[in-house]
């Protein structure tokens, strides 16, 4: 059988996770380089509608792996179902988005098949016949090219934002959805998940702020947060933070920006002593102007900054506040 690329799309309660389109785009690009056709599958219970959304994409075949036992996500259920599906369809390469859900079941699935998973990739390369996956390492400070040293199926996940989902090629006419029903014995599923919920409503809505001054671990001590507060006040903005600052209780959780915090797009995002880990960046990369102060000239935050201020924030921020006050006077 010819090599195929399988995209495992993600849905939650019958809604497609848009990041799946990024994975489709990655698959289409690899397909262009290798000539392998792209198939897609989505797993869940009663997911015809979701499958329909993927059907709009240019994929050769589209499968709905459907079972009532998959209606609520569990790692046991999803790993079992995909294992069966992969045994049945023998793809060469299985691609998934590096979401919380995929992180939860994909290593289990790959291990059950005796295969590795190259996780959190940011791109791919071909070298002659070889296919290499690029992943970020050391919190984005380095990248690595990684290859598979085994036969199919190969598993890889892509980092949020690594490919442009809006550039995924659409199909001229929607694909038919092929149903893959699966007999999933109840005893397979050991975890009993409850319904997802949101913590009590957040007191501050940072999405409405025009100016955000965000502090990271570079602020060193809780008492230094006042310096950032003063800068925020001078700019008439809100204060926010990276996760470790909230984990330490220096600022309340509802001021956290990132994948597990708020997603913001202010006119100005001022990052003080934030390294720019991907989980932070996904929460602020839509900001119109980003200014970052960091003492490390290689800090990944500078990749998304419009102005990269290399230096010690404790030297720069006090005179900056004075200059802003002068400019405002």
């Amino acid at each position: 059988m010819a090599n195929t690329i399988l995209v495992v799309a993600e849905q939650h309660e019958g809604k497609l996770n848009r990041v799946s389109f990024e994975t489709v785009k990655a698959a289409q690009d690899i397909s262009a380089a290798k000539g392998w056709p792209v198939h897609a599958a989505v797993a869940g219970g009663g997911i015809e509608q979701v499958a329909g959304e993927i059907a709009a994409m240019d994929v050769e075949r589209l499968h709905a792996i459907d079972s009532p036992a998959l209606a609520a996500y569990t790692p046991d259920g999803f790993a079992f179902a995909l294992n069966r599906f992969i045994a049945d369809t023998s793809p060469q390469l299985v691609l998934m988005p590096h979401t919380y859900q995929v992180r939860d079941f994909a290593p289990k699935l790959a291990t059950a098949l005796g295969r590795p998973l190259i996780s959190d990739c940011i791109g791919f390369k071909t070298e002659g016949d070889r296919l290499l996956f690029t992943r970020s390492m050391f919190q984005g400070k380095f990248a690595a090219d990684v290859s598979f040293a085994c036969g199919a199926p190969w598993f890889a996940t892509f980092q949020n934002g690594a490919f442009r989902g809006d550039q995924a090629r659409r199909a001229a006419s929607p694909r038919a959805v092929e149903l893959f029903s699966i007999d999933l014995p109840e005893s397979v599923i050991r975890n009993r998940p409850e319904a997802p919920f949101k913590e009590a409503r957040q007191a501050v809505d940072l999405t409405q702020a025009d100016v955000i001054v965000a502090v990271g671990r570079g602020i060193k001590e809780q008492k230094n947060i006042d310096l950032a507060r003063d800068l925020a006040a001078a700019l008439g903005g809100e204060i926010a933070a990276s996760r470790p600052i909230c984990d330490s209780g220096w600022l309340p959780m509802d001021r956290q920006i990132g994948s597990s915090g708020q997603t913001v797009a202010p006119k100005l995002y001022f990052a003080l002593g934030i390294s720019g880990a991907i989980q932070h960046v996904v929460g602020m990369k839509g900001s119109r102007t980003v200014i970052a102060i960091n003492k490390d000239s290689e800090a990944p935050i500078f990749e998304v900054a419009d102005l990269a201020v290399v230096g010690n924030l404790f030297d720069i921020v006090p005179p900056l506040i004075e200059e802003i006050k002068k400019a405002r006077a």
């Binding site: 790692p75 919380y100 998973l117 690595a144 050991r190 919920f197 984990d247 915090g261 990749e303 200059e323």
Partner: protein
């Protein structure tokens, strides 16, 4: 409850990292610390033990320097430690690391295994989940709360976009712990003193070799990522830098 905590030593957050000569890894002459979520995993294990009794065992795989994270764990209250000691452990992929850990604790009967949710160096985010599969145990990832009950444990998983979810699961189980699940303690002087008399078992590569295979994912080359964006860089005396930032605030950000 008998809890195994998997901990890793990684370069310190602020350490300036450099590539080694052949681009296979970083230069080792940097300062190291415990991987942050692993510190939270240890803290959670200690808290569970304080509530329900039992034993906390810390395990690490790494060169001699990595014993520092075990000494810290013992000083904070872990009962004993296991060191898979060999520089070659640094080069193992997640599957082989999990196999090595499973082999090192064979014959023990833990109720829970904790790992951090991912490491700052490789960032696989896989070792805990793979370990669960190898042991044949259920798992849950990115955990922010754990309560023991008659049927096993009820854990709170962090999901994306501010959502959470409770999951009831039987024991034994593997959990990957998220930073911020609790507040970390410091080691006390007494703790540091007592740690010296606690058991620290060393396991050599040879002892677990039979459980390992070749890495099926091969790190070919490590390098500094290409910058995709030409960012304007600003350096110099603070007062001048401050003036230039204000220009930017006025002319580009238009917030002044």
């Amino acid at each position: 409850m008998k809890i195994l905590v998997c901990m890793k030593q990684v370069p310190q957050k602020d350490a300036p990292l450099k590539l080694n000569e052949n681009g296979s890894w970083i230069r080792e002459d940097v300062s190291y610390e415990v991987n942050e979520p692993d510190a939270y995993a240890l803290e959670e294990a200690l808290r569970q033990k304080e509530k329900h009794g039992g034993e906390v065992v810390a395990i690490t795989a790494g060169p001699a320097r990595a014993s520092q994270v075990l000494r810290e764990a013992l000083a904070k209250g872990a009962d004993r430690a296991i060191h898979l000691e060999d520089p070659a452990f640094v080069t193992l992929d997640a599957l082989n690391t999990a196999r090595a850990v499973a082999a090192a604790v064979k014959g023990e009967s833990f109720d829970l295994v904790f790992t951090g949710l991912q490491s700052d160096d490789y960032g696989f985010a896989q070792t805990g989940v793979i370990l669960a599969e190898l042991l044949g145990w259920p798992h849950a990832t990115i955990i922010m709360h754990i309560e023991k009950n008659d049927a096993g444990i009820r854990v709170k998983r962090e999901l994306e976009a501010g959502f959470f979810q409770f999951v009831q699961m039987p024991l034994p189980a593997v959990l990957t712990i998220q930073s911020g699940i609790n507040k970390l303690r410091y080691a006390t002087l007494i703790g540091i003193k007592q740690a010296k008399n606690k058991p620290l078992r060393k396991v050599t590569m040879a002892e677990v070799q039979a459980a390992l295979g070749p890495n099926l994912q091969v790190l070919e080359k490590l390098y500094i990522p290409q910058k995709t964006k030409k960012t304007e860089k600003l350096e110099g005396p603070a007062s001048e830098v401050a003036k230039k930032i204000v220009e930017k605030l006025r002319n580009q950000a238009r917030v002044l």
